[in-house]
Structure formats: structure tokens, C-alpha cells
Amino acid sequence: MEKNYTKFRNIALILIIILITLVAFVGIYTKKLNTYKDFIPEYKKGMDFDGFVELKFKLSDKSEEKEVWIDENGDFKGYVVKEDDTAEEETQGPEEASKESENEHVSIFKKETRTIKDNEDSVLNKESYNRTKNIIERRLRDVGVSEYNIHLDNSTGNLTIDMPDSKDVTSLYQLVTSKGQLNIIDSNDGVVLIDGKHIKSASAVYGQSQKGDGGYQVYLQIIFDKEGTKLLKDVSTVYVDSTDSEGNTTQKTIEIQLDGQTITKTYFSSANGPIGNGQIQIPVGSSTTDNATFSDYLSSTSKTATVIDSGRLDNLYTLTSDVFVVSKISDNFILIAKIATCILLLLITIVLAIAFKGKGFLAGISNIGFISLLSIMIRYTNVTITFNSLIILSMLELLNIIFIVMLLKAINNTKDGSKIAFADTVKKYYLAIIPVIIFALILTFESTITVGTIGMIAFWGLFVQLIYNIVITRTFYLQ
């Protein structure tokens, strides 16, 4: 009676394993819009398997003659704004406002014509190229590009960046081609009032629109350091709206520029008083109630904030090519690899059956179920598959075989029953693999795919192994 029950139980378990294996390697197909699609999500493939975008950048060699402000030491203080560049003031007395400002700065600074190069000779060296590369890497990580390769030519400064293809790739050019130089300048004469080096941090924030239309407004928030806070306080005292004795309102305006492009032109409200907290919030676009528009604003503002926050690039690059490189791993190769894996698993089953007879055969079948369940788990947990993760999968398979062999030896050696043998084996095994558990947990939190995928595969592998072996493998040998 007991023997029949054990037989029936083992057959049922084998059928469950066959089902899991079919689901993992063949799939469950459901009809969706006149086509059949696998119900189980696809593997999330890394660059090794899915191909990548190869972006090539070279150092910009543009140079231009420009009139600049310089101080007594000959240091650069801003680009001179030509009269036709100055927008008309909205209030009376625009000429008075600009003349007043220019008079102030004319007494402090001198004008000079200089050749301004995108990449001055002082930054055409290995150290600058490497500093630039490090900042670009930081920018890529901050916007969530977790997988990339950067090739830097130390002699020419040229960069090649490989990253996964996505619809956002063109918006990522900015991370490399934007220097991240944010300045607050006097809009009338172009003198730099607050240099970007005083920026402590930048971020994208949002809040409900002050217009009361129920929409949301995205802002670029800039926080200045101690020196910048002092400068901001001074600037927010001077560049305000004011009313003269005749009731005419004038505004002294500033421009906030990123890499020479104006983000906004504004003035500080005299009613609010000077800004003492060292923070400004620059509205981006208009307030909106549309989710898609809001997401776009937030996404582009986040990238701009990342560019500013990560630091100024020493070198300025221009994009020279953007191509998609197809993965060397073809579908045929993947099919061959899958077949090879199946053959290997069968061989392992045969070897175990030879070594441990019937118990070994059941262990081999159990091992196949473990791999199948793990592959399903990987697909549902969205773990990226790379060459690194395949190596770790092999390690997990080896560990599972070691566990199985330890269990079979313990069962053969014990008279007290398989439950005790299983408990002993689990205790010895998990005490021995604690370093693997530690590494899996630590590496899981790495943001780069190269390292993070190792941790995630190891973590899910060990988790599935524990649950699976308790539920399925142990049940095979229960008496």
C-alpha cells in the first residue's frame, strides 16, 4: 500500500516537473489579436544578446571670435551681449535699465575680443579626457543606463559608447554633448553673475500649478553652495522690478543659460525680498494636466538636472555616428545552446542514475525541474541575461548537483529516515555556501547590469533552490 502511494506520488511529481519544463522551454501560447504569443514573459536580454547602439563622438574643433568681458587679471567674466541680442524690456525705460547695468560693469570689467574654442588647448590632454569620461559615466548611471561600454582614445580624445537600444537613445546624446555649464548672467550686458561652479546640486521637481488649473508644473531646481547662496542673495536684491517716482516700473533681468542657450529670462520679485536659502526653481514648459506631456517634461528636465548635477565636462563633443550593432549571438546559436543544455541535463541524470540507481534518477529529474523553474523565475523577475549571468547560472547548477549528491549520500548512509537526512544536508549545505549568499545579496544592489545581474541571478537561484528542494526534491525521498 505504502509502496503504491510512493510510486503514485513520485509519478505525480515527475509529471509536475515535465509540465514546468515544457512551460519553461516550450511555453504556453495564448491567442492575442490573431497571433499566438507566449504567456510567459520573454527573457530580458543584455547587450551581449540583444545588440547595442554604438555612438561615436569626436572633440569639437569649433572656434569663434567673440567679444568678452574680462577683469583686471584677464579672467573671463561673460560674453558681451550685442545690442540687437537684447530683447526689448516690457516696461518703460528699457534703455535706462540696460545703460545702468552696463555702466556698473563697464567700470569693473573691460571688453576684449578673443578666439573662443569649444576645446581650449589646456583641456586637450589625457587627464581632461579621463575626467570627462568619468563624468559621462556618472551621467549615464544617474539616468538609469545600467549597461554600457565606453572606449576612450587617449591620444585623440574620441569616444565610442555602446549602450542598449531604446527609444530614448537620441535624448541621451545630450549627456555627452552638453558640457553642463549653467550660468546666471545679466541679460543686458552678458556679465556672469553666478558661475555654475557654485552649484551644489540640481534636480527635477514638480508641484501643483499656481494658476489653479489643476495641472502640474515641472521645475528645474538648483541649489547653490555657500558662496553661490551669497551671490544669489545679492543678485536677487539687485535684479528686481522697481517703480520710480513717476510710477514707471522697470525690471533688471537675468538670464539663466545652459551651455550658452537661454533656459529662461526673468527677474526677482521685489515684493518677495532677496533669496536667502540658496535655491531657485526654474519652471520648465507650461503646467499641464496631460500625463504624457507631464512625463515628457519631467524626463527631459531630469536629464538636464543630471547634466548639471554631475559636473561640468572639460571637453565638448559632437556626435559623428549612431549605428545599431546586431548581436553576434544568432537565433540558431541560441537554439543550439538550448539543445546542448537539455542534453547536458539528461547526461547528468544518467550519471546520477548510474551512481545512485533509482534515487539518482529521481534526483536528476528533480535537477531538470529546478533549472526549468529558475528560468521561469528569471523571466518574471526581469533579470537581464548577459554572459556573466550565464556563468553564474552554471555555478548554481553545479551547486544544486553538489546538494543533490550530498543528499543522496546522506540518505544512503542513514537509517533514521530521509527527513533527518534532508535536514542535515540542508544545514551543512547552507552553512557551506554562506559566502555565495553574502556575495549574491551585496552584488544585487549594484546599479550596473554587469555586476548587478550576477547578484540577482545568484539570489533568485538560491531562493528557488531552497523552496524547490524543500517542496519537490525532499518529497521524492519521503518515507
Binding site: 561615436k56 561600454n149 565606453i150 572606449h151 576612450l152 582614445d153 587617449n154 585623440t156 574620441n158 565610442t160 555616428s321 549605428v323 545599431f324 550593432v325 546586431v326 553576434k328 548577459t386 554572459f387 556573466n388 556563468i391 553564474i392 552554471s394 555555478m395 553545479l398 551547486l399 551543512k428 552553512l431 557551506a432 555556501i433 554562506i434 559566502p435 555565495v436 553574502i438 556575495f439 551585496i442 552584488l443 544592489f445 549594484e446 550596473t448 554587469t450 555586476v451 550576477i454 547578484g455
Partner: protein, 209 residues
């Protein structure tokens, strides 16, 4: 007695292997996969589908003994890139001529650009791992000291670290001597081997207890 002899022979063999490996690395360095070394690239868009075998045959004729790699570019299957360690003017002329002949294209030698692709520094491969591995190693060492607290913990940790270092040196020597191409995934191979070694060591010591 026999075991002791085997141990000595093994240690001697290991020492010789490591010394040989260090010499090879000092004289010749590692064999880095061409795609990670500085090399040159030609990209050609022939405007129609092609067979990789045809491009491969052309490359064999033009580059002969030089290592090259052909990469499919763009999703439409009409472009490819040929990466070679270096491309001479003669080779460029020959390549353009044979591609035009085979695919009926009209490339001109002066219009085809050779791009230099910079090398990837091997130490950049290790950078993403450093922080996590250091943290994990520190926690592992603390665990091992706690685990072996009654049985010479420091000596056990030192012995295990020494075994790991010797393993890494031995693997590095084998890779250098056998001129196996270095690729980034090698780091996770070495990491797996080191982790398995730690597990075996701990397991043996648990059994002894």
C-alpha cells in the same frame, strides 16, 4: 607520507606555473580580444541584403593572416562593419574593389573612412566590481572569524585568502600561457571559482568539527 609528497609536488607545480605566468605577462602581456584593443574599423552600407559568408570570404582574401571580425550593423541587414587590428591602404583598395565586385556597389576608395576604435582598459572592467567585492569580502571574513572562533579563526581566514590568491594567480597564469583571449566575463568566471573554493573549504572544516 604519499599524501605529503603529492602536496609538495602540487605546490611546486603551482609555484612554477605562477612564475611562468608572471614572466609571460611581463614579456607579452595578456591576449586581449581584438575588439577590446585599439583597432580599425570600416563600415559599409551596401544597400541590399548580403550573406556574412560572402563578406567573410572577401576578408580572408584581403586580410589573410590578420584577425578580423565582421559585425552586422543596423536592423535592415544592409550594412556591416569590418574590424581589423589595422588596415593598410593596399588592403583598403582591395577590400573596396572586391566588395564592389561581389555586391555590385559603387564605393570609392577615397569615400570609405577608416575609423580608429580606442582600446578598453582592462582595469575599467574591474571598476564596477571593486566596491561590492570589498564589502562582500569583509562580511565573509567576519562570518568566517565567527564560524571558526573556536578553531584558530585568523589562521583559517588567512589560509583561505592565501588559497584564493594562489587560485587567481594560477588561473591568470594559465590564461596568459595558453594565450586565451581576455574578455570581461572572465571576471565572473574567476569569482565563481573563488566562491566555490570558499564553500569547499568551509564545508571541509564543518565536517572536521
Amino acid at each position: 607520507m604519499v599524501k605529503e609528497t603529492y602536496k609538495k609536488v602540487l605546490l611546486l607545480g603551482l609555484a612554477l606555473l605562477i612564475v611562468a605566468g608572471i614572466l609571460v605577462i611581463m614579456l607579452k602581456g595578456f591576449n586581449v580580444n581584438m575588439m577590446y584593443k585599439q583597432h580599425e574599423e570600416i563600415v559599409l552600407n551596401i544597400g541590399k541584403e548580403y550573406s556574412i559568408e560572402d563578406v567573410d570570404n572577401i576578408c580572408k582574401e584581403v586580410f589573410q593572416n590578420k584577425k578580423y571580425q565582421i559585425r552586422k550593423i543596423e536592423r535592415f541587414g544592409e550594412s556591416f562593419a569590418i574590424n581589423v587590428i589595422n588596415i593598410t591602404d593596399d588592403e583598403k583598395d582591395q577590400l573596396v574593389e572586391k566588395v564592389n565586385e561581389k555586391f555590385e556597389s559603387e564605393f570609392k576608395v577615397e569615400d570609405v573612412e577608416i575609423n580608429t576604435i580606442a582600446n578598453v582598459r582592462i582595469r575599467d572592467w574591474f571598476t564596477p566590481y571593486i566596491r561590492s567585492i570589498i564589502i562582500a569580502m569583509v562580511i565573509t571574513i567576519i562570518y568566517m572569524i565567527a564560524r571558526f572562533r573556536k578553531n584558530h579563526p585568523i589562521a583559517n581566514v588567512a589560509k583561505l585568502l592565501l588559497i584564493n590568491i594562489l587560485t587567481i594567480l594560477a588561473l591568470g597564469s594559465v590564461i596568459a600561457i595558453a594565450r586565451l583571449p581576455i574578455i570581461p566575463s572572465l571576471i565572473s568566471c574567476i569569482l565563481s571559482i573563488v566562491l566555490l573554493e570558499m564553500c569547499v573549504y568551509i564545508s571541509k572544516n564543518i565536517n572536521k568539527e
